[in-house]
Symmetry: C2
């Protein structure tokens, strides 16, 4: 089965027309339009087998995650998904694997309403590159660079669950039964926070998706915004195990959360409360505030310097 | 040196602003605009080390080729380059390699006037995914699907030179000294035929770039156009060695040419002649014509059935 047969059989009909596609999959390139009054938000991310996911991960979970991590980038920018391209590198042509992967991709594309419009397949170590595109009203995209002193720092979801499941899989910890399903889901099926895009467009001064751990990713906001931050460990949205074990490093420094960290001017405190009341599933937890300079984590009575991204582990 | 440091040091300033970039490299995603009256043409291609290029290929050549194969897709669509994203997977961080690769990328981006606006780097077996975007006036893109019986089939450049150099590197053939530089250049520095884009937009009924060999790639035009073709071996633009050795399979069935194969209605015969007179470097050689059905190669007095992409090798 060659490249063209693979694309024809598995990937020629993924997702719904987003209204932007002039020419879809099957030519040298695809042709798209951007509706008047909109701008195009684009990202490209690669997942490598054995690095970004264990080699024995279910194909449908790999497909899901490859799309989800890119969708998470769109959400952080305040964009709505439109279309994607995929480059799939495979060690060999395993039709069972391919069919499960394609089904997972189709289901995910349908769920998040985006269309596969092009890409390629090639031979090599398993990896998936997804190029995603979304739409945002002109000038309404959200960057990492707009945070100002006094802004409230917020995060969505629960932090650390994906890292806990990875630690469980590696035999490093023994999670209680009651948390296992949730943590497994966090690792294999991270929920891109697309429903937050409209809130971010209206009220956020800066946003980022947390892919490499809260401390490091918030640092990107601080660098881009030329400001500092004070966050409080006690305010971090974490599960009961992290709290009881005082294992906050999973929430502070571990990757794969794909939650949103954003900053909102204090004038919009009321809108945050309204959002949380009306959207309990994607509640934004206030964890601290933007300052002029410095980067500190409050743990009980102590203030830990986070600059240089080190230090707090000693206090777990 | 982590991902962010690599991007900052090597990839933060590649290419010139194409006038479409609202927000470039360094955030969760980039933001672009499409000028009024234009459509966006997008492609995504991956080059894998050891598959698409020998592992010891010079980094600058890898960078060049990764961009060139994508630019070739744009050319075949009749588009003008605008911007690109790159996902770079590296086995280890070799700063010497990275700096040569980045220089090659910068030079190539400058030459072809396109800007690097985003992407990522990760750890794994060497591979480069490039997502490219070009512009085309609304509705003027060229597909594989418009060829009609009677249309003239044309190809640019010389076919087979890249394949000859690969065969030379593998010790399968011994090329004369006089052809070596040209063939090495064809493999390592394939020339994307961007200057043909305007001709294709105006006069071509169908076009494709030849990445997998003329016979197979012309077949894509025939499938998409629901038509047949008759081509003549004697009309193929090849170098003297292929002619003398009667080694036409390098021109017919070997990959990596990145020349353009297009079809033009006979009413535009005059425009083809004008083009060839005014652009001798990107001359379009007529090699046959589109028919109602069938797919044949004329070799001397014989007519070889190319359908199913087999048969002609026996006659070399």
């Amino acid at each position: 089965m060659n490249e063209f047969a693979i694309i024809e059989q598995y990937f020629s009909n993924i997702g719904q027309d987003c209204g932007c596609t002039v020419l879809g999959i099957g030519d040298d390139a695809a042709v798209v339009e951007v509706p008047p009054g909109q701008q195009l938000v684009v990202a490209l991310d690669t997942l490598v087998g054995g690095i970004h996911f264990p080699d024995n991960t279910r194909p449908a979970d790999i497909a899901y995650k490859a799309l989800a991590v890119n969708l998470s980038d769109l959400a952080a920018m305040g964009a709505t998904p439109a279309w994607f391209q995929m480059s799939l590198t495979l060690a060999d042509v395993d039709t069972h694997w391919l069919s499960q992967f394609a089904n997972g991709l189709k289901q995910t594309a349908d769920t998040f309403r985006l269309q596969l419009i092009g890409g390629d397949t090639c031979r090599g170590a398993l990896s998936i590159s997804i190029q995603i595109a979304g739409l945002v009203p002109v000038g309404k995209y959200v960057t990492r660079g707009g945070a100002a002193p006094g802004d409230i720092i917020l995060v969505s979801g629960e932090l650390g669950n994906a890292a806990l499941w990875l630690a469980q899989l590696r035999g490093e910890i023994e999670l209680p039964q009651s948390l296992r399903a949730k943590c497994a889901l966090a690792l294999n099926r991270p929920q891109p926070r697309l429903e937050l895009a409209s809130f971010l467009r209206e009220f956020a001064s800066a946003a980022i998706d947390i892919s490499d751990g809260l401390v490091g990713d918030l640092k990107h906001i601080l660098d881009a915004s030329k400001s500092g931050a004070r966050i409080a460990q006690i305010a971090l949205p974490v599960n009961s195990w992290i709290e009881q074990q005082n294992a906050y490093h999973y929430a502070l420094d571990a990757g794969d959360d794909y939650e949103i960290c954003c900053t909102v001017p204090p004038a919009h405190r009321g809108e945050i409360e309204t959002w949380n009341r009306e959207h309990p599933e994607s509640r934004l937890a206030p964890i601290g505030e933007i300052t002029e300079s410095g980067y500190h984590l409050r743990v009980g009575e102590q203030s830990i310097d986070l600059d240089g991204h080190k230090g707090y582990r000693h206090f777990d």
